[in-house]
Subunit: 114 residues, 3 copies
Amino acid sequence: MKKLEAIIRSSKFGAVQESLHEVGVDFFTFYEVKGYGHQRGKNLSYRGAVYDVGYIGRIKLDIIISEEFVEKAQQAIKDAAYTGEKGDGLILITNVENITNIRTGLTNGESINL
Amino acid sequence: MKKLEAIIRSSKFGAVQESLHEVGVDFFTFYEVKGYGHQRGKNLSYRGAVYDVGYIGRIKLDIIISEEFVEKAQQAIKDAAYTGEKGDGLILITNVENITNIRTGLTNGESINL
Amino acid sequence: MKKLEAIIRSSKFGAVQESLHEVGVDFFTFYEVKGYGHQRGKNLSYRGAVYDVGYIGRIKLDIIISEEFVEKAQQAIKDAAYTGEKGDGLILITNVENITNIRTGLTNGESINL
């Protein structure tokens, strides 16, 4: 089993949720995080004012998924979260050694529907 | 060393904390997350009104633990977090390659008491 | 690629950020968490009153990093987050199987600058 973590723009959350739904991924956990990106002196300039890039509010999704869903889910997130501007985010895949469903007691492949 | 992540009902947090204490697990990190579960058209009906399942407030615990504590901690969480209704949550075990205690400088098995 | 997770005192966030910047680590995600440490009867005493240790507000940093940056980043965090009092926190290293940059589509070593 795999854990897919996606750090996306908060504004793209609805689109990502819909895009995941279309590939059959309907269960996940999410929470607000802050993204810090220090541009090493490359401050952003907007209408003559200089802005430090500072912190950007983001949403992190944790999705538990079986191996065969990983590629579909990655693609669904990429399609929906993309703007082309810096800061579109990252998708991470890590291995999960064991999953237990608290209600059913089932583990790993049987613990979830994906 | 292992990382145990438990996503549980917020209402079960106190019981889980007590249950973990009884097996000697007294240190963890936790934070509020949202669980999303789209029931694919199976909306819940309550007194004639139909509800989308939507988001459910949950608590996520991150527990760093040595291998021999994993089973005890899993069982303690399952016992305390169980209601039998859908949405009781999941317990994940992942491998941690290295742990460093910032105060003591000790690593891995010596970095924590568990 | 590796994921470095650091759980630090909230009061040390600025120092850790600066210390990471000095070793070239300028991108990360962070969020507030709570640390629970039950001192098994060893309540803290302060001016005659007994306090349960209870929950402590902390900040968790998630840093995605290539292998050669891990040691530098660990050291930078340890140096800046250390007070010598219990509760200075932990640094965890876990393996990440795959990283995708949503904007560029690049993966793994090419997905980030570190």
